[in-house]
Amino acid sequence: MSSASNSSASTATSSRLTFVVGLALLGFLGLIPVLSVVFDDPFLLTLFTRIVIMAIAAVSLNLILGYGGMVSFGHAAYIGVGGYTVGILAFHGVHAAWIQWPLAVIISGVVAALIGLLSLRTKGIFFIMITLAFSQLVYYLGNGAFAYGGDDGLNIMTRSDFGGLLNLDNRPTFYYLCWVILLASIYFVHRTVNSRFGMVLQGARSNDRRMATIGFPVHRYQLTAFVIAGMLCGLAGVLTATFTGFISPAMMHWSRSGDLIVMVVLGGMGSLFGPVFGTVAFLLLEEVLSSWTEYWKIVFGPILILVVLFARGGIDGAMVRGQACTLLAGCAAFFLLYGIHTTYEDQWLIPTLILVAACALAWFAKWEIQRRKNRHD
């Protein structure tokens, strides 16, 4: 749990800077529909709608993973539960959002309560595995539900209906709805973690026994957080289903849960805006790398390793340590490579790959030497 406690130490010192940058990023996200019109690129809106929805899911995971220290490896299950509730209701002709959405959130909460109740008996790697097991159960349930398309998934032909209040078929309207929900969930998490409840939750992360001896019903607090996170993630599932007009078991495959964890860690665990940073970085990186080469994972895999090894506390952590230069260099390199790519197409792929590998190696070597020096000085 060392990195978890590290990042908690950093939140205290970082809050102001991260706050500014985080708000700026949220403001930028709010401008996307405008930019999409200015640049005549509707896909920008599509891309960022997905990013904002995933950010909501990441924010919900951060509540239990970052603040609560509960590594849930099955968080995508709630995206599935929320999505399937909407999809199944729509399939049966129920389109009213004020039935669909609350029901989806409640069912996600109930599922989270059941999973949490059993999973929280375990700790560490066992908790990771048992949450994975439960999400696999939900996954196979979706896979076996042939009435609702099974593996093929199910199309939602009619979007949720808010009466005359909101027209979700209007893409900017839907985008702003997601954006507002993201803002609200960040604010909600902020209030939660700074309440007494949140303090106990964070205390339990580093030492649950002590919190229990002080007299807090730690287990109940953790379960509550688990359920809240499940409900919020269920809401992200509702948005996903509404946005894509399609549900399938693939949305709750275990690798999706893995992606969510990566987003949170990449952005910075236990940081208010970390999940948003992480989601934006992850999905943009995926989008650009994969448009770049179909072998993009050979770059993405090592990036992940490097982030874990060197950028502890993720993007937020880097900001805290004043590694803006590193961040800037990363962005510049990204820019450069993207520029080279668009100019010369794929023939530059191999040299740039080698370049990236060489940079990584050099960085690694430098770090290793430094570390050895520190140890023996």
Binding site: M1, S2, S3, A4, V71, F73, L118, R121, T122, K123, G124, I125, F126, I128, M129, I130, L132, A133, F134, Q136, L137, Y140, L141, N143, G144, F146, W254, G258, I261, V262, V265, Y295, K297, I298, F300, G301, P302, I303, L304, I305, V308, L309
Partner: protein, 305 residues
């Protein structure tokens, strides 16, 4: 009756493959407290090595004999380059970094060996069947898997229970610091164990190759199963892994084999078979969840953790 026995053998064979994979994983986990998701990649690379070497030498056994040290070497190199720095990190960091390794290895294999997959040619006498019981011919290659699996289990038992290396492995699983304080270079010991685990993974991969073909990502799904095995068995415990592997292999096979007939009593045959498959897919996860709810550290947790 014969069918039940045959299905038992099928289950046993799957179980032993799982055990080979889980054994390395649990040894590594036990000593270094290190979750290595890339273990599945070593399984895959072992299978590819065997395919390439078999093609090259023209003999399955020569190919296998070369693939084992190659797998061990690859494991050791990976350990030294990428994993050493992760020992002091928490499980989450290890999961993420080794997840990155999986992505890397999968693409590397695609670049090196192509996307089309490979087959491992086995000698003719392994393509046939042996009559184990009157009226029960069994594929000789699957029989070989059972044999190799049992031999390996026995070898591991002797190694861990009867040799000094085994004592150190067990001691390391319960109290790593103390082993170091008594003069054992735990890093070296771990590299050794990691090499052993990698060789076991490669062995599992190359044994599975002729049955399941060699392909990109072949280790990803079976790795999840192997993780389930070591978690049920109790981390760091070889006997636990053995028993859990047997339980999962046999429950899985028996579930698929006999659930449709049982459900067929209530449902139409095609509904019964789809429902039975959905159920048997879930069966092992239900088993794991149940075990963990009742015994939160697995069936045979290593003492001292």
């Amino acid at each position: 009756m014969l069918l039940i026995f045959e299905q038992f053998l099928n289950g046993l064979q799957i179980a032993l493959l799982l055990f080979l994979l889980a054994a390395g994983l649990t040894l590594v986990f036990g000593i270094m407290d290190m979750v290595n998701l890339a273990h599945g990649s070593l399984y895959m690379m072992g299978a590819y090595f065997a395919a390439v070497f078999t093609e090259w030498t023209g003999s399955f056994f020569l190919g296998a004999a070369l693939a084992l040290p190659a797998g061990a070497l690859l494991g050791i190199v990976t350990e030294i380059i990428a994993l050493r720095t992760l020992y002091t990190r928490d499980h989450l960091d290890q999961v993420l970094a080794t997840f990155g390794l999986i992505l890397f290895f999968n693409e590397l294999a695609r670049l090196m060996f192509g996307a089309g997959g490979m087959t491992i040619e086995t000698p003719n006498w392994l393509q046939g069947q042996i009559e184990i019981l009157p009226g029960l011919p069994y594929p000789s290659y699957r029989f070989l898997i059972i044999l190799v699996g049992l031999l390996c289990a026995a070898f591991l038992y002797v190694l861990v229970q009867r040799t000094r290396l085994g004592m150190l492995i067990r001691a390391g699983a319960s109290n790593r610091e103390m082993v170091g304080a008594l003069g054992i270079n735990i890093k070296q010991l771990f590299t050794l164990v990691f090499g052993l685990g990698s060789a076991l993974a490669a062995l599992a991969g190359l044994m599975a190759g002729p049955v399941t073909t060699v392909q990109i990502g072949m280790g990803d799904n079976i790795l999840i199963l192997a993780l389930v095995v070591i978690v049920i068995g109790g981390i760091g415990s070889l006997p636990g892994a053995f028993i859990a592997a047997l339980a999962i292999g046999i429950i899985d096979t028996m579930g698929r084999a006999f659930l449709p007939n049982m459900l067929g009593a209530f449902l139409s045959p095609s509904d019964a078979s789809t429902l039975a498959t959905a159920l048997s897919s879930m069966l092992i996860y239900i088993l794991m969840a149940a075990v963990l709810v009742l015994r939160p550290a697995g069936l045979f947790p290593a003492p001292g953790r």
